[in-house]
């Protein structure tokens, strides 16, 4: 949630909570045409995979018992090509589930995304109805985590709660770089991230950036620190998603339309981007 909205929202929640001034209402939303939604993250060393679904009218039912549900969600029958350095990879339709990341895709290829930070990847999708989705992206360079420093408040043997300071270096102080910071505790997939936010190198101190935690993590626990170096398109898209989620229900918030980097005739939502991140696992020790 944007910082400046926190206080008014706390205040209002206190009032509404006390008086129960929230009630259900019937309303008619403006007409909405369903749109294709595309997510494709090109991660070097991983196979080409893409998720292509459709958006819904806001009040559409979530009923999963309907046999047509999957058919309704998934965009079927598309032809998808990704071209890089003169080579075109065709993604075929199917279900591709990664048990380690718990992520699922409906188009994929066994081809591996090369580690190429210079040349662009171009996407071309022809949907079953003939409409197209196009996009272009590069893979940003990986920003290594310089160090993860575990600190305790005191040297006392009884002080077993630690914090983690994660240091990394701004890859280019001359341009604005944007990062996504994730911090996980105990599990990467079974629990949501303790921290997951966007940052810029505006917060660099002599080129060095640091993210911290509170003294909340006991000796013996495992933590994961992740730093994504983001393409501008990806950062804008992700930020617009966050704003959209947070604005619904916040009278002080200003919504935003989804900032996709997709062209073509299909008026699609989503992101086609290279993905580059550094992740370090640390066991808290004194």
């Amino acid at each position: 949630m944007k910082f400046q909205y926190i206080l008014p929202v706390i205040f209002l929640i206190s009032i509404f909570g006390a008086c129960n001034l929230t009630n259900d209402v019937d309303l008619e939303l403006p007409e909405y045409d369903r749109q294709p939604v595309l997510e494709c993250y090109l991660e070097p060393g991983q196979p080409y995979q893409l998720l292509l679904t459709r958006s819904f009218e806001f009040f559409a039912p979530f009923d999963t018992s309907d046999g047509q549900f999957l058919e309704n969600v998934i965009e079927q029958g598309a032809t998808i090509n990704i071209t890089h350095d003169g080579k075109t990879v065709t993604l075929v339709e199917g279900l591709f589930f990664n048990p380690f990341t718990q992520k699922i895709f409906n188009y994929g290829s066994p081809e591996i995304v090369p580690e190429d930070f210079d040349n662009a990847f171009e996407l071309e999708v022809i949907l079953a109805d003939g409409n197209t989705i196009t996009s272009k992206t590069t893979i940003p360079v990986k920003v290594p985590i310089d160090s993860v420093v575990i600190e305790f408040e005191s040297d006392a043997a009884t002080d077993t709660m630690a914090r983690a300071l994660t240091y990394f270096t701004d890859p280019d102080p001359n341009i604005e770089n944007r990062f996504r910071r994730q911090f996980h505790w105990n599990s990467l997939v079974d629990s949501s991230a303790q921290q997951d936010f966007l940052a810029t190198d505006q917060f660099a101190d002599n080129g060095r950036i640091v993210f911290g935690t509170g003294f909340d993590y006991p000796v013996g626990d495992t933590i994961w620190n992740t730093v994504f170096n983001m393409n501008r398109d990806y950062a804008d898209f992700y930020e617009s998603v966050i704003i959209s989620v947070q604005s619904n229900g916040n009278p002080f918030g200003q919504p935003a339309s989804i900032d996709s980097n997709l062209g073509g005739t299909a008026d699609a939502l989503g992101i086609f981007t290279g993905l580059s991140y550094s992740r370090e696992m640390t066991i808290i020790e004194k």
Binding site: K2, Q4, Y5, L7, S14, F16, L21, T22, N23, D24, V25, L29, P30, E31, Y32, R34, Q35, V37, Y41, T53, E57, F58, F59, A60, P61, F62, T101, K103, Q182, L188, V189, D190, A193, D196, Q202, F203, D205, V210, G212, G214, F215, F228, E239, I243, S244, V245, S247, N248, G249, P251, F252, G253, Q254, P255, A256, S257, D259, L269, Y277, R279
Partner: protein, 790 residues
């Protein structure tokens, strides 16, 4: 016409007027005879020659009258008994008047004169309110609020239920010039806009201009709200105060030297924090208890004035107000405070009976600061705007047909935008950000109130304004003209045109007022905002069911240029390149307002209706556009607005007040679609991401609310036994939202989840449906306040 010819013509014209008949000037200051307070807008009328004038904002009047002719001069002011003087002018004469209160004795005459002055005046699109009216009308939680009462007048819709934000004739909330004793108040809100910074006990007068702006005002596009503080009783020591359910207030005033100098001190403080601290204490140790944050606000008004002689008067006044928000536990200490400081030093000088000057030095400061200390780490962010202003105004009664007003002002602005300091205690982590700007704003104006004929009055003027900032200089010529044609003694037609330039802008991305909204100067990229407004209308005084009522009907059209908005998803907080988030466009607004007012008898009040339509668009900026430049309605595009206000004197003991308001619902930007978002490895799957289309396409349900107020005067028997008894008190019972209407403060779409299992049997939450939820602000809300004065 060639300029030389024009000057010659004007000289001849004024000369002819001046020498047509020998005249002398009657001038002076009109005050409340009981307290010595100067009265603004008191009427001076001489029936024999059908000449009249009103006191200016400093209580001064000057009128040219025929020499050697016996005349009866009538002085009148709302709520006071008329005063008459027989005079025969053989030279210029000074005549100060102390009016005696006598509302029951001569009320009808007084009101009629006040209406007559409105029918005669070129001023249009002006709304005023008295503190007496404010105190008689219902108030939220017993906190009387002059800004909320002025919202009941036509053409001034509020920014939302319970808030003091003003959206005057299609203008934004940053387009209101709010001055307190001539010092700008940059944030007129306490508690996120639910209360205003103006303590009713300390306020003498409030005047709001919606259009037809006199040339002495500039710097904002859509309205001028001129608030004057009381000067303090220079006859005797007195006081007033109140004990309410959320705050208490106390005002003390009295002479420093009787009839020559006086003081007033007025303060109030809320005590939410005393209650919430007790609640938090009681809930300590309770599972899942969420402590309520600490919050309170306070403000203090002070003023002293000295009569330095027959011709000089010095006033010193100040305002200090703060909102304090705190939230802490063992691991963090969060603080957030914001507030205004203003101070004014004002010198009135009367050069001669025809020439009066007012010279003012003001200081304004608005700032907010957010700080947080977590173990080993601290963070502070602040923004501010600070002004020092010097201005001088001259009022010159040139002759019986022309009154000139001219003056100049210069303001030095200092802006701190998003100054950020953060770091760890050991210095390992440290970063900072923010911008600082300064700028100088200039104004030079002249206007003439010209009685072209017994029926036609014209006020024409010109303002030259400018702004410089870091080598960038902007200037603008702002013509202003207003005319009044009195068709009959009880019916007049009016018209006005005004151009306004605005050089400082409020960076706010929210529909509601937030203390974190920051002021930003015009720069090379950010050009001054401009508006042109034309208004036409008429006023009529007539009898309806045997009682005198005053009808005002106006229509306006306003063009707005160089308007500022923000790209979708703009990051306005701690952003060193804020301008890059701006988009610049234009807009227009038009509408009509009608009000029917009754000021006489036991039942007084008004009915107002406003129709308006507002559009903004053509927004483009360095990083993109808004809706490809298409026009859209801002959220405060309220089509219909009705207010009915009644005040009834039941008897000596009881007075009642009631307001009923109705408004078309505000617009809201709601999502029309949704999609699922899988996100990257390590991130959680989002089952519902709202997809927002065009801005503000959904209209909230219509708003309506009835508020009631009953004032019970206490101690009347004692007063009857001892008429000299000064202690007066009352109990005021307010009921807000009397029929418990649940008006929409905002609407959101809520996703319902149910627990399910995934393929591995793990518990997961699955979305099952969406419901639209409406959040209201006020249920039926009674409040009791004890008020006293002595």
């Amino acid at each position: 016409m060639h300029p030389t010819r024009l000057i010659l013509f004007l000289w001849m014209f004024f000369s002819i007027n001046s020498f047509a008949q020998e005249k002398f000037t009657l001038s002076g200051v009109i005050t409340d005879g009981e307290s010595g307070e100067t009265l603004i807008g008191a009427t001076v009328y001489v029936a024999e020659v059908a000449a009249g004038t009103t006191t200016n904002e400093y209580g001064f009047y000057s009128i040219s009258l025929p020499a050697n002719q016996p005349l009866k001069v009538e002085f009148s002011y709302i709520g006071f008994q008329n005063s008459e003087r027989d005079i025969t002018l053989t030279a210029d004469q000074k005549l100060d008047i102390g009016m005696g209160e006598g509302i029951e004795l001569a009320e009808v005459v007084v009101k009629a004169n006040s209406y007559q002055e409105q029918l005669r005046s070129t001023e249009m699109s002006v709304e005023g309110i008295t503190t007496k009216e404010v105190k008689t009308l219902p108030s939220v939680l017993g906190e009387t609020d002059i800004l909320k009462v002025i919202q009941l007048k036509p053409g001034i819709p509020s920014g939302g239920e319970g808030t003091t934000g003003l959206y005057v004739r299609g203008g934004g909330q940053d387009q209101n010039l709010i001055v307190l004793d001539e010092a700008i108040v940059y944030n007129p809100n306490h508690l996120f806009g639910f209360f205003s910074t103006f303590n009713t006990d300390a306020v003498k007068d409030l005047k709001l201009y919606k259009g037809g702006f006199p040339p002495q005002y500039g710097g904002r596009l859509s309205s001028v709200i001129d608030v004057k503080l009381k000067e303090g009783n220079n006859k005797r020591f007195s006081g007033a105060g109140g004990l309410g359910i959320i705050s208490s207030r106390l005002t003390l005033e009295g002479p420093i030297e009787k009839d020559k100098s006086s003081f007033i001190v007025s303060g109030r403080r809320t005590y939410f924090d005393l209650i919430t601290r007790q609640v938090n204490k009681a809930n300590e140790g309770v599972e899942d208890n969420q402590p309520i944050p600490d919050y309170y606000f306070y403000d203090l008004n002070t003023k002293i004035n000295f009569k330095l002689g027959e011709k000089d008067h010095l006033y010193l006044s100040g305002y200090f107000g703060r909102d304090q928000f705190g939230f802490n536990n063992e691991t963090f200490n969060f603080g957030f405070n914001w507030g205004n400081v203003t101070s004014t030093a004002r010198w009135n000088h009367q050069f001669n009976p025809k020439l009066f000057s007012n010279t003012t030095v003001t200081f304004s400061d608005y700032r907010y600061k957010i700080s947080n200390e977590i173990v080993g780490f601290s963070f502070a962010l602040d923004s501010k705007i600070r002004d020092v202003n010097l201005k001088t105004d001259f009022y010159q009664n040139l002759n019986s047909k022309n009154t000139l007003r001219y003056g100049a002002s210069v303001t030095y602005h200092e802006f701190t935008v998003g100054r950020l300091k953060a770091g760890s205690d050991d210095g390992e982590i440290s970063f900072s950000g923010g911008n600082e700007f300064d700028g100088v704003e200039y104004g030079l104006y002249i206007s003439d109130d010209w009685e072209a004929s017994p029926r036609l009055k014209v006020n024409g003027g010109l303002r030259l304004s400018g702004f410089s900032n870091d080598g960038t200089f902007y200037y603008g010529l702002e013509p202003r003209v207003a005319a009044n044609y009195k068709v009959t003694n009880s019916f007049s037609l009016k018209g006005s045109y005004a151009r306004m330039n605005q050089y400082v802008h409020l960076v706010s991305n929210s529909g509601l007022s937030l203390p974190t909204d920051v002021w930003y100067p015009s720069t090379k990229l950010v050009e001054p905002q401009i508006s042109d407004q034309v208004a036409v209308g008429g006023s009529a005084l007539f009898k309806l069911f045997g009682t005198e009522v005053f009808l005002t009907n106006e229509y306006f059209y306003k063009l707005l240029d160089k308007q500022i908005d923000f790209i979708d998803g703009a990051e306005l907080f701690a952003n060193d390149e804020l301008e890059q988030e701006f988009v610049f466009g234009d807009g227009y607004a038009y509408g009509g307002e009608i009000s029917l007012e009754k000021r006489t008898g036991d039942l007084t009040g008004w009915i107002g209706y406003t129709y308006s339509k507002i559009r903004r668009g053509n927004f483009f900026g360095p990083k993109g556009d808004v809706m490809e430049g298409r026009y859209f309605a801002p959220r405060y595009d309220r089509r219909h607005d009705i207010s009915i206000v009644g005040m009834y004197k039941i008897n000596e003991r009881f007075r009642a007040g009631a307001t009923w308001v109705y408004g078309s619902g505000d617009l809201s930007w709601l999502p029309s679609g949704r999609f699922t978002f899988q996100d990257v490895p390590g991130a959680e799957f989002q089952a519902v991401v709202p997809s927002y289309g065009d801005r503000n396409t959904f209209r909230l349900p219509a708003f309506h609310r009835l508020d009631l107020n009953l004032i019970i005067k206490l101690g009347l028997k004692k007063k009857r036994k001892n008429p000299n008894r000064r202690w007066e008190s009352d109990l005021t019972l307010s009921v807000i939202n009397a029929y418990d209407r649940r008006n929409a403060f905002f609407i959101f779409l809520d996703v319902d989840f149910a627990e399910g299992t995934d393929n591995d049997g793990n518990l997961i939450e699955l979305p099952t449906g969406v419901t639209a939820k409406q959040v209201s602000l006020f249920p039926i809300l009674p409040a009791l306040t004890y008020n006293f004065k002595f």
